[in-house]
């Protein structure tokens, strides 16, 4: 059963669908809802996502029916049809995605029928029912991906053995989605694999249209994007694998090895790429060894964030930084099956370095649970996890302050720095993360 949530770290289903469309080049959303929904949905993401900001067809330029009481009483289908026709006239895009808010789903507008009329006439319009009460942003992202996969992606294309699609990213929920995708694409490119990323400003909509050519879908999550990947497999026959977001040399090497095996990349290329990239990481890290060891920069880790990041960060600090993960809170709203998938993934971290895992959306309750955990530690000085480092979101600063711990934000919301092409994925992403974490530790000098 759901409960109230303090300062939720996501938007509603509509929001997740909207930011996904907003991230796809030459795609535009048509929001069928009351006047504030689009602004609420992406207003939050565009600030909380490291000031992602807006481009030309999102934010206040998002086409929206802005329905009012009249439509709520008499139905909003005519208004939607009018808005779709007008949007096709005014806005220069190649795919138009109708997404709905709470009230249109409650009053039961037949949006599929309205959109169906346009599709019959060959207009590139797709539709997803994304009423906010159906879930959080990640759920909405899944809804819109399913719509894209079934209504937009071409069927029956020949497969390309060296083409993959990358899924599992929800823009702004992963504040670094653009940089991460670009870096993973670069790495796979070194192996001779072409990767479609879809959600960066450098993608071509044609690649999305022809995404069914891919012979593998890689979902960088155990929970988000999994359902669309299943729909993709069913619709277009492309299988998928769930991979954790790889941060740092250990995780990324394993990731590349698994993908190389699956796509039959030759050993020589694989070994060369891994060696080169690892060298990149260690040739920057090596000179820092004095600092690391002399200053005792090992920390107890408290990691708070979404399902994708919590595992990836814990793993990096355990495997590469040599820290002690202590406690981790997954803030997504997950069902039991999804929770099990997340827990199972965490079990790949050896037991003595595995943090205590909780699922908790509410910021204040996270602090309570951490304090309960600390109270069980037998420590006469009351500082069992000092020195600690909290890696979370801006909302977790008070928790860090309470622990007298260092703090760095990598999860949504991030409002105290801007994010452009930074990334944490891969060898170089790990280097970035360690650079930032250690910078926090020396920032007062």
């Amino acid at each position: 059963m759901s409960t109230h949530i303090e300062r939720p770290r996501y938007q509603c289903a509509l929001g997740g669908a909207l930011v996904t469309i907003n991230s796809i080049e030459r795609a535009v959303a048509i929001v069928h809802s009351a006047p504030g929904c689009a602004a609420s949905a992406d207003g939050a993401a565009t600030v909380g996502g490291g000031y992602w900001g807006t481009t030309l067809t999102d934010g206040r330029a998002t086409p929206s029916t802005n329905i009012l009481e009249r439509e709520v009483i008499f139905g909003g289908e005519d208004r939607l049809a009018e808005q779709i026709a007008a949007t096709l006239e005014v806005v220069d895009a190649d795919v138009y995605a109708v997404i709905t808010g709470c009230m249109t789903d409650i009053i039961g507008d037949d949006v599929r029928a309205v959109v169906g009329e346009f599709r019959k006439h060959g207009k590139p319009v797709i539709v997803a029912e994304t009423g906010g009460f159906k879930g959080d942003s990640t759920v909405g992202a899944d809804f819109i991906w399913e719509a894209i996969i079934t209504q937009f992606v071409e069927k029956g294309l020949e497969k390309d053995p060296k083409l993959v699609n990358l899924f599992g990213f929800v823009p702004a929920q992963d504040v670094f989605w653009r940089g991460n995708l670009l870096e993973i694409k670069r790495l796979l490119g070194l192996l001779g694999i072409k990767a479609n990323t879809f959600l960066t400003p450098f993608d071509d909509l044609k690649d999305l249209k022809e995404a069914s050519r891919a012979s593998l879908n890689i979902v960088f999550s155990d929970v988000h994007g999994v359902k669309p990947a299943e729909v993709f497999e069913f619709t277009h026959g492309t299988p998928f694998v769930s991979e954790p977001l790889p941060i740092g040399p250990t995780a990324t090497e394993e990731f590349l090895r698994r993908i190389a095996a699956q796509l039959k990349v030759d050993d020589e290329t694989l070994e060369r790429v891994i060696a080169d990239e690892k060298a990149y990481y260690y040739r920057f890290i090596n000179p820092l060894t004095d600092l690391f060891t002399d200053q005792d920069f090992q920390r107890f880790g408290v990691v708070i964030g979404n399902a994708n990041y919590t595992f990836a960060v814990n793993r990096f600090i355990a495997d590469d930084l040599g820290w002690i993960p202590y406690f981790t809170a997954v803030t997504d709203l997950l069902n039991e099956e999804q929770k099990q998938a997340v827990a199972k993934r965490l079990e790949t971290i050896p037991a003595d370095l595995r943090p205590k895992l909780i699922f908790e959306a509410d910021t204040d309750r996270i602090t309570e649970r951490l304090n309960e955990q600390l109270a069980q530690e037998d420590d006469p000085y009351g500082t069992p996890i000092s020195p600690a480092f909290v890696i979370g979101s801006n909302l977790d600063r008070p928790l860090a302050a309470g622990l007298k711990a260092a703090f760095w934000g990598v999860s949504y919301p991030i409002t105290n720095r801007i994010v452009t092409d930074q990334f944490y994925a891969g060898f170089r992403g790990g280097l970035h993360l360690v650079t930032e974490l250690i910078s926090v530790l020396v920032s007062n000098r």
Binding site: S2, P35, L56, A86
Partner: protein
């Protein structure tokens, strides 16, 4: 009806016949039939705001308050953005350690939509009260619970006797009004009912007349139209002529808001924001009001000050102050005037703000060539004429639009101004077309009074001097609209019933 009797705040289209869609000449707006205007619609529309958003923005400023957004999980999610600006406000107010705003979502899901959300709301209020012990709790009712028929007031009145905390509520469902500025009224309504009318101590008694020699106290209403520097400027001016000031209701606590009933005069800095509250204080507490100017630009500031002074027989003091201040500021801007002479400016903001800022630019020797107002109501009408008169009858196009950037960029391309001055989130559209831009309001800067006059002049000259960022940007951004759109009138999608 008025704030006291209204159970639910009426939309501004009903209360003040506000209009959201009109395009034409500035000279024409006063002649339009109000009823026709308010019924204008758009066949193509872009996302606006809903009344929830300004209400939330205001209520989150109240110290030690928990805001409960009753609805699906997305409605309050812009709280993060609002919280960043509230943090900055606190910094400017000298409380760097102020706590972050606190808000909750009742997180209604599919099963709640079927079974109703009243119980969840009740539990949330009690749980929040118990755990956080806030000084006040505010419940905001959004579209979803409203459509499924949750009885907000019923829940509130059931819980009120159980807790010792001020309990406020607001009906701010987005689908109920197209004029999101209604949200300001909703926030006032919540505060007045929660802290005054239904307060545990009851409404404060009316103040007795001022004793001889006692300095008059005026309420200066600040919603979201002034930052700290502007408050300081107005306080300075009013203090200088012997008047004390209470500023609220943003950032004010229960006591400050109750104190507003004890003032001798209520002064608005933006009639569009304030009239609902000002009239309440007038009818219930007999507090007279000044509600027609905004102290931006020399002429407006002069009128604003004289109006206030007139209430207390302080005209001579005011005149002396005005003379001295004007002399000083005119000297201050002298060196900027040559660069500003004849500059064609386009304004975009809430109607009143845009209009009075237009007056300021004219006083600096600039010309208004276009203006976009977020909505139109009667408070603005005569100011359009004043602007036209001040530039010797030269008319200019106006666009009444709750944002609608597609109309704005079309109009900008036709008007081709030298400078754009818009509200936050407006400037980017002009910047991407390569125009120099200045923000019409940020909480860090001076805009009102004499200091504001000087600072705006300086800022305009600075941006005109180098707008390379915008110019280069414009060469590197794609076009969002079809080229046929630019061949049409910017107002092509406005449907008026009369037509």
């Amino acid at each position: 009806m008025g704030l006291k009797e209204d159970k639910i705040v009426p939309g501004r289209e009903e209360r003040v016949a506000a209009c959201m869609a009109f395009g034409g000449c500035a000279s024409g707006i006063g002649k339009q039939d109000k009823i026709c205007l308010k019924n204008n619609e758009r066949g193509f529309s872009q996302a606006g705001l809903c009344q929830l958003l300004p209400t939330l923005g205001m209520l989150l400023t109240l110290p030690e308050t928990a805001v409960i957004v009753h609805g699906a999980i997305g409605c309050g999610s812009t709280g993060f953005g609002m919280n960043t600006s509230i943090r900055l406000h606190h910094l400017l107010r000298g409380n760097p350690n102020a706590k972050d705003s606190l808000w909750f979502s009742t997180n209604l899901d599919e099963s709640d939509v079927v079974h109703g959300g009243e119980q969840r709301l009740e539990e949330t209020i009690l749980a929040v009260n118990e755990k956080y012990k806030p000084k006040s709790i505010i419940v905001m009712h959004t579209c979803t619970p409203s459509i499924i028929g949750d009885d907000l007031v019923g829940v509130i009145e059931k819980v009120r006797p159980l807790i010792d905390t001020s309990l406020l509520y607001s009906h701010c469902e987005g689908f109920k009004t197209k004029v999101w500025a209604t949200g300001y009224d909703v926030a006032f309504h919540a505060m007045v009912h929660g802290f005054i009318e239904k307060d545990k101590d009851g409404p404060p008694p009316k103040k007795e007349g001022r004793k001889p020699g006692e300095r008059p106290i005026v309420n200066v209403i600040n919603l979201a139209s002034m930052g700290k520097p502007d408050e300081v400027e107005l306080e300075r001016l009013l203090n200088a002529i012997g008047i004390d000031v209470v500023i609220g209701p943003n950032f004010a606590d229960r006591e400050t808001i109750r104190r507003m009933t004890q003032a001798d005069l209520t002064v608005s800095v933006c009639p569009t924001h304030d009239d609902y509250l000002v009239h309440y204080l007038n009818t219930e507490y007999g507090i007279p009001c000044v509600l027609k100017d905004m102290p931006i630009g020399l002429e407006n500031t002069r009128r604003w000050l004289l109006d206030i002074a007139g209430n207390f027989g302080l005209e001579n003091e005011a005149l002396a102050l005005i003379e001295a201040e004007e002399a000083k500021v005119k000297k201050g801007v002298e060196k900027y005037l040559p660069a500003l002479k004849g500059i064609k400016v386009f304004l975009s903001a809430g109607e009143f703000r845009a209009l009075v800022t237009g007056g300021l630019f004219q006083e600096l020797g600039m010309e208004i060539v276009g203006l976009r107002s977020y909505h139109h109501d009667d408070f603005g009408t005569e100011f359009y004429d004043r602007l036209i008169e001040a530039q010797k009858g030269k008319d200019f196009p106006i666009d009444i639009a709750n944002f609608q950037p597609f109309e704005l960029v079309n109009l900008l391309k036709k008007v081709d101004p030298d400078l754009f001055c818009g509200h936050v989130f407006d400037n980017a559209w002009a910047a991407r077309l390569g125009y120099p831009t200045i923000t019409i309001f940020r909480i860090f800067d001076h805009y009102v009074g004499y200091r504001g006059f000087y600072e705006v002049a300086k800022k305009a000259v600075r941006n005109l001097r180098n707008h390379a960022f915008n110019a280069k940007l414009s060469q590197n951004v794609p076009e969002a609209y079809r080229k046929e759109w630019y061949e049409k009138s910017p107002f092509a999608y406005i449907k008026s019933e009369a037509a």
